[in-house]
């Protein structure tokens, strides 16, 4: 047990009890964190530290005397233990103990104790932490500059709505660690099979690889799909460790990506979760609105099974609303500790034009939902003509589905010019390859019936050039104007499908609404109604799948906070992993590629269009990643601050600062990665620091190669929880019955 003399420091500046804070502030600040010793007539009265500035801020410092704010400092012999010192310090609520020494020899009769030094609370803390070698907890978020753990978070991760640890799972694929990669993906993403194919990939938009002119981002989305395909083929399964029940019950209304994510997060933390879904199957729009040729529905079912196998109580066929047979929100609020409403916007909108009530007029959501139950939608004209009104992703899906179901002629008719259609360009291209016709720049005016009351044709009016928002690229609807006196364009049709927006069906009067008809809630899902949380498309409006998953995570956290369980027994246990990373410098020779598409001649059925990658393709593409999550690790005991790393860095991302030398700091880097000293600078030693600008660093490792003392390595720091493990897929999975479409 160490004694106080091992850590005691000499007195610094002293002051008198009658001094004011105004008098002592400069000395107090200069000496921080060591407090000033308050003495009078050579007697120690206490100490005063910088903490007194908090209550004194805004007051007249000249009127606050030291004596009124100082803290007592007990006297203790130098031979006392640190623990005894802390006990004495805490007993008087002080911040320091004054260490004393006997003035006589060991056998002297004169045993006066005189102060010889000070031990402060900060010194004790430093002593407790002196043997800490794990650097992982020593990470600091650096303000607005980055959100990371000393390592700036990779730009891709920063841009991802669910903060996927992208650089790690991409790196694992490059090493052939496909299962590890899949597990990293699963940490925040319960639907990688879907998002590996259909995510709008904001990560790729901000990939550092694409920052340079002529370079293109890493194909992150497809790497995710590759890992997931591998795990699926290997029959793997994520077995979630469920925390002991905490007795809380939460109802989730709507089993789409937001609701399922929230339900899974809460279930893993020990909540009893009841999931209400009005359809006969869970998945929301993933199951009912995205046609089979977009992704492998067996993989979706596999992921849904993994979620439901955690013990979520599923009520399919249960509509929550105001109807006679509906479950009422009021009842749920009375029965459960919290209710999360994530009902999405599942109702398609049919524009109010003449003829919209004809039997052969439907909306895309209804059309696709019927197809999802393996049904041919009513009035579908096999070998007939279909007109789809709208130019977005759902319109494209409806068009392709119509072609694959056997329509002879399919038109997509939209307001926007063809180069401004909201649909993804590759999907439009795919659809055109199998026969889609597009007529842009017109607005639907009338659906004409034949003499038997069936749809015969649709009339459209040409539009003047329109304006688009320069930032979002979205159409400014106020600029949509018909060309006056222009002749209408009429196209024969047997079925008209409106893909012109979705609306929300109000689940109950308890749910507050905005003027736009959406649910009023903040980004955490709080509605202002006790115990009621809402999120997903019903709050945000139609958005992307990954946004819905993000809503699920956020609302689960909000519910836990609301119920006061954030630090409760169900808390995930995080482990810190520090791993060295290899370089990816071969990456420069490879260019971006994307998965191939099934040849057009084979795309007339519901087979998945996007082809899987081979191992080689996936590894080559993952090697292109810069690994922006890796950080320099300098061995400070070895580094001699020679500056070689600074000199050779091709990106000028490193600054070696040697105190006393006039070295230029040009990188703009603020991340301190090395602080070392090799003796007194005045007698041939050196002392200094090394800073990195991680916005510039591309992890090329040239600094590592050129370091003459071999003190640089690259490391990744991860925080993982222990809630998941990989097992073989169980034979019996949750089997949800499919009932007839209603």
């Amino acid at each position: 047990m160490p004694e106080l003399d091992r850590i005691a420091t000499t007195f610094g500046a002293e002051c008198d009890p009658d001094d004011t804070l105004h008098d002592i502030l400069p000395a107090l600040r200069a000496q921080h964190p060591v407090p000033l010793v308050v003495t009078r007539d050579e007697v120690v009265h206490g100490t005063v530290g910088l903490e007194v500035m908090v209550p004194a801020f805004g007051r007249d410092l000249g009127s606050v005397t030291v004596g009124s704010v100082m803290r007592r400092a007990p006297l203790l012999d130098v031979g006392a233990s640190v623990e005894d010192g802390v006990l004495a310090m805490r007993s008087v609520r002080g911040a320091a103990v004054v260490v004393t020494e006997s003035s006589g020899g060991l056998f002297s009769r004169q045993r006066d104790q005189h102060p010889v030094g000070l031990v402060t609370d900060v010194q004790v803390l430093a002593t407790i932490g002196r043997n800490v070698t794990d650097k992982a907890p020593m990470k600091i978020l650096a303000g607005h500059r980055d959100l990371g753990f000393n390592v700036p978070v990779s730009p891709c991760q920063r841009n991802c709505p669910i903060k996927q640890d992208i650089a790690t799972y991409v790196d694992y694929v490059s090493q052939g660690r496909y299962v590890d990669s899949w597990m990293v993906i699963h940490e925040t993403n319960p639907f990688p099979s879907i998002l590996g194919r259909l995510c709008n990939h904001p990560c790729e938009t901000d990939c550092k690889r694409g920052w340079d002119p002529g370079e293109e981002p890493v194909t992150i989305r497809s790497i995710k799909r590759f890992s997931t395909d591998f795990a699926f083929q290997q029959n793997l399964w994520v077995d979630y460790k469920i925390a002991p029940s905490n007795g809380r019950r939460v109802a989730v209304v709507g089993a789409g990506p937001a609701g399922l994510t929230c339900a899974l997060d809460l279930r893993v933390q020990g909540y009893e979760v009841a999931l209400y879904e009005r359809e006969a199957k869970v998945g929301g729009l993933l199951s009912t609105s995205i046609p089979p040729f977009r992704f492998d529905h067996r993989q979706l079912q596999w992921e849904l099974d993994m979620i439901l196998a955690t013990g979520i109580d599923v009520h399919t066929g249960s509509n929550v609303g105001e109807g006679e047979n509906d479950v009422k929100v009021d009842d749920l609020l009375a029965e459960f500790d919290a209710v999360f409403v994530s009902i999405g916007m599942m109702k398609g909108r049919i524009l109010p034009i003449p003829g919209n009530d004809l039997p052969q007029v439907t909306d895309a959501m209804t059309f696709l939902r019927q197809v999802s139950y393996d049904r041919i939608p009513p009035h579908f004209p096999v070998a007939g003509r279909v007109v789809v009104v709208g130019g977005g992703a759902i319109a494209t899906d409806a068009c392709q589905t119509s072609i694959k179901l056997g329509a002879k002629q399919v038109w997509m008719v939209a307001i926007e010019p063809e180069d401004r259609l909201p649909a993804f360009g590759n999907e439009l291209h795919e659809a055109k390859e199998i026969g889609l016709r597009i007529h842009p720049g017109v607005i639907v005016k009338e659906i004409n019936a034949d003499d038997r009351g069936n749809v015969a044709s649709v009339s459209f009016a040409p539009l003047q050039p329109m304006d688009f928002d320069p930032l979002s690229g979205k159409l400014i609807f106020s600029s949509v104007k018909e060309v006056e006196g222009a002749e209408r364009w009429t196209v024969p049709a047997d079925l008209v499908i409106f893909a012109s927006g979705q609306i929300m069906e109000t689940p109950g009067k308890e749910v507050p609404l905005t003027q736009r008809g959406l649910v009023a809630a903040d980004r955490g899902g709080h509605t202002g109604v006790d115990r009621l949380f809402c999120g997903g498309d019903c709050v945000q409006g139609p958005s992307f799948i990954v946004d819905a998953v993000g809503w699920g995570h956020r609302v689960a956290r909000s519910i836990r906070e609301y119920l006061g369980d954030v630090a409760g027994p169900g808390e995930r246990i995080y482990q810190t992993i520090v791993e060295r990373t290899d370089d990816h410098r071969q990456s420069e020779v490879f260019v971006r590629t994307e998965p191939a598409i099934l040849e057009a001649a084979r795309r007339y059925d519901m087979s998945e269009c996007e082809l899987p990658w081979s191992d080689r393709e996936a590894i080559v593409q993952s090697i292109r990643c810069f690994q922006c999550d890796s950080v320099h690790h300098y061995d400070t005991a070895v580094c001699v601050l020679c500056g070689a790393c600074d000199d050779v860095c091709p990106e000028k991302a490193i600054d070696v600062v040697v105190f006393g030398e006039d070295r230029e700091r040009s990188s703009g880097g603020e991340t301190l990665v090395c602080s070392t000293s090799g003796g007194d600078p005045t007698s041939g030693g050196y002392e200094g620091e090394i800073y990195i600008n991680y916005d510039r660093c591309t992890n090329c490792r040239i600094c590592e190669d050129h370091c003459p003392v071999n003190c640089i390595t690259f490391e990744r720091v991860r925080f993982v929880d222990d809630t998941m493990r990989v097992v073989e897929r169980p034979r019996v999975t949750v089997d949800l019955p499919l009932v007839a479409v209603h």
Binding site: E83, R90, D121, A142
Partner: protein
């Protein structure tokens, strides 16, 4: 005629409506020192000593969920739950099994970066807190305000000392 030099009258700090009471974003330290619920307390003690902080926020999924106060670590030392021992050369066994979650206090003191520094200092004083965590749009921790920053602010604005 005024005797104030023209240059001084154009000093932006003097022209500002209340230069002594800016938004906390302009005063805070531009980093967030934090720990996780699973961080062992010896590591937290090192964080406190290295960064001159009597309190360390606890983040979970990067969201503040509480804080660890140095008094609680010192109390655990007295109780024998933390052992100061070992040498720099010896094998380093764990010095404690106590983690942040064992001694965490709630709630963390969160303030918005647009709040005025005087208001934040008043909140800190009323709650006898030494660290305020500064948030951006209620979602991201972007800085910290402690007595050190308040002192620096006072020293750079002599009119605030009341002298």
């Amino acid at each position: 005629m005024s005797s104030t030099p023209v240059a001084a009258s154009l000093d932006p700090d003097r022209l500002a409506p209340d230069a002594g009471n800016p938004a906390v974003a302009g005063v805070m330290r531009d980093e967030v020192v934090f720990c996780l619920p699973s961080t062992p307390v010896d590591a937290i003690a090192k964080l406190m000593a290295d960064n001159e902080l009597p309190e360390i926020p606890v983040l979970l999924d990067r969201r503040p969920v509480g804080y660890v106060h140095q008094d609680d670590i010192l109390d655990r030392l007295v109780a024998g739950d933390i052992v100061i021992g070992g040498s720099d050369l010896a094998m380093r066994p764990p010095v404690t099994a106590v983690q942040a979650s064992d001694i965490m206090r709630t709630p963390p003191l969160l303030v918005d970066e647009s709040q005025q520094v005087r208001e934040v200092a008043a909140v800190m004083a009323s709650q006898t807190r030494q660290v305020a965590l500064v948030m951006h749009e209620d979602e991201t921790a972007v800085g910290m305000l402690t007595a050190r920053e308040l002192a620096d602010h006072i020293l750079s604005h002599p009119e605030l000392t009341g002298a």
